[in-house]
Amino acid sequence: MKPIRTLLSSSALLIALLLTGCNQSTSDEKGGAGSKKLVIGATMLSMQNEFIVNVHDEIEKKATADGVELITVDAEHSPLKQVEQVESFIAQKVDAIIMNPCEVEASSPAVAKALAANIPIINVNSETSAKPSAFVGSDDVESGRMAMKFIADKLNGKGNVVMIHGYMGQAAQIKREQGAREVLKQYPGLKLLAHQTGEWDRAKAMSLTENWIQSYGSQINAVFAHNDEMGLGAAKALTDAGMKDKVIVVSIDGIPDALQGVKKGALDATIFQNAEQQGSKAIETAIKAAKGEAYEKQTLIPFQLVTKANLSSFLKP
């Protein structure tokens, strides 16, 4: 039901943005006056997203430990805002910038501006088309491959799959779909029965799956959801319809709720994306770059497949 929202919300959003425009938080208020303390600015896609919050928590932890002043701002999904935030970092003459990009293209000007101002900029978690000083993240195409490969193995290369997309056009959605389709091509026996967006949302994915169950019933053998929220929504719909034990559900991210889901059997697998490592590597690289030391241009944190078999090593006590 997104259409209505889009149709009616433009004016509301505009004012809402004005109202919520300035929520900055500084993690370290001690701010050594006159000292040569490093200052790093971080702009995050959305602090309402659990995974992003986890990445940020790790950045913050490490910054505090290393005595770096960290300025965090929330781009609230708006690339325009993100570019402005980076401009403001440049004006504040921070030593390095960590950006968790909102969009591949629209966030790119931020990279160009930072580089032009000779401030190193590190992209974390997702990419921009402009090449930053360094990239820390995981290869989303790989996660899609892993998820679909898991399904292919479980079904012995034969069966019907449905796929629930994230927001159409976002980097993660595009790459996860790309990876999944690569695997589908290798297995002619696997058929993509239907695919539709669930907008990263649990309730939407649940409704979508309910409708698919009506449409395809027992023809569905497996569900691949682009994130765990949607995977859990699909699993709920299947459980309610009494079909869960016959359908494989795999999703991506490895959020705590999903790990619980694997434990309970709601999810057959989740592809763990390591927020902690992304965060810590990002701040490490940023500090090195700020100090002028050598650093990795690209750090890829591998995804890990989580099933019941290896669950225990991911569950935090």
């Binding site: 929202r5 919300s9 309402q48 539709q196 009506q214 709720d257």
Partner: protein, 328 residues
């Protein structure tokens, strides 16, 4: 659908415009049945008891919100904060709904209470200040979203008790609880609107606030009541959503206010206030749900759904304006 909408005018004043406007009242029903019929012909999976139940289940949360919005729009107001209220109340309820902590009534009561207070706050500010509801609720929309994030520390609250999850996910005699609650709420709201003094006052306030005041109607009280009702229904929706997806999400309900407003408008509630019915709103919500379900069944991409939904809203508003023109 009689209450609030003008019944047939006298023979002598019945122009073609009036007749056409009257068609507007039934136009929605005709459109709805037409779409159902078409879908039934295209796919055999549409017109099954199970699928119809799923549609109503999926529609129920939006419908509950739309009922609240209908009260508010009838008085000539608007509430943009209901989506945020869904999140606040859902998170508040979820915080008390972990297994082996409190009995299930506790999260429910806390959620409803949160919605009641939030709605009453909206009503209080709107009646006390002379700031338009659009602005006030735009502000509380943002406040509510922030509160939900604060309460949940930005993370979903999961691991909820089975009894709590039953509220929005269970079945009573084979009928999903959501449908049962929807029917009860629909009857309650219809009775309130049609059969009570306060309901009549809502129409009067929206129809002509000055005249209502001069007729001795307590305008402030009426507005306070409608916004509180809006909050209460949003809380009910928030609790049910949380229960249905078995997790309290701080970013739940984003944009729900616009879906709800759309359902009310499609259902014939005039944005200028003074007219509208619960039956119309329910039909509006069902129409949105049927189209969404039908296009999913046909595996049409959601892009087309957006176009279709937008066209329907415009169509509904055009019908409404025809009704208005023929009144003047």
């Amino acid at each position: 659908m009689k209450n609030g909408l003008p019944p047939s005018p006298s023979k002598t004043t019945l122009s073609y415009k009036t007749r056409f406007g009257r068609l507007g009242q039934y136009g929605l029903l005709i459109a709805f049945l037409g779409i159902c019929l078409t879908l039934s012909l295209i796919t055999p999976r549409f017109f099954t008891v199970q699928n119809l139940m799923i549609i109503v289940t999926q529609v129920s949360i939006n419908a509950l919100l739309a009922f609240g919005v209908t009260f508010i729009i009838i008085t000539g107001g608007i509430d943009l904060s209901i989506g945020s209220m869904v999140a606040v109340t859902g998170v508040a309820a979820a915080s008390f709904a972990h297994p082996d902590t409190y009995p299930v009534v506790v999260p429910v009561v806390i959620g409803l209470l949160a919605g009641l207070l939030f709605g009453a706050f909206n009503g209080f500010v709107i009646t006390r200040s002379h700031v338009p509801p659009f602005i006030v609720t735009l502000g509380t929309m943002t406040i509510g979203r922030g509160l939900a994030l604060i309460l949940s520390k930005g993370r979903p609250i999961s691991n909820l008790s089975d009894s709590f999850n039953f509220i929005g996910g269970g079945k009573i005699l084979g009928v999903p609880t959501l449908i049962v609650i929807l029917i009860v709420a629909f009857i309650g709201c219809s009775v309130l609107l049609k059969k009570t003094v306060i309901g009549r006052y809502m129409y009067a306030v929206g129809g002509n606030e000055q005249a209502a005041r001069a007729s001795g109607i307590p305008i402030g009280k009426v507005k306070l009541v409608v916004y509180t009702l809006g909050g209460l229904l949003a809380a009910l929706a928030g609790i049910l959503l949380t229960s249905r997806i078995t997790t309290g999400q701080p970013n739940a309900g984003q944009g729900f206010e616009l879906d709800a407003i759309a359902a009310a408008i499609i259902g014939g509630t005039s944005t200028s206030g003074g007219t509208g019915t619960m039956t119309g709103t329910l039909l509006g919500a069902l129409l949105i749900g049927v189209i969404s379900n039908g296009l999913d069944l046909l595996n049409v991409t959601s892009y087309y759904q957006e176009v279709v939904m937008g066209a329907i809203i415009i169509g509904a508003v055009v019908l409404d304006s025809m009704n208005q023109t023929n009144k003047n």
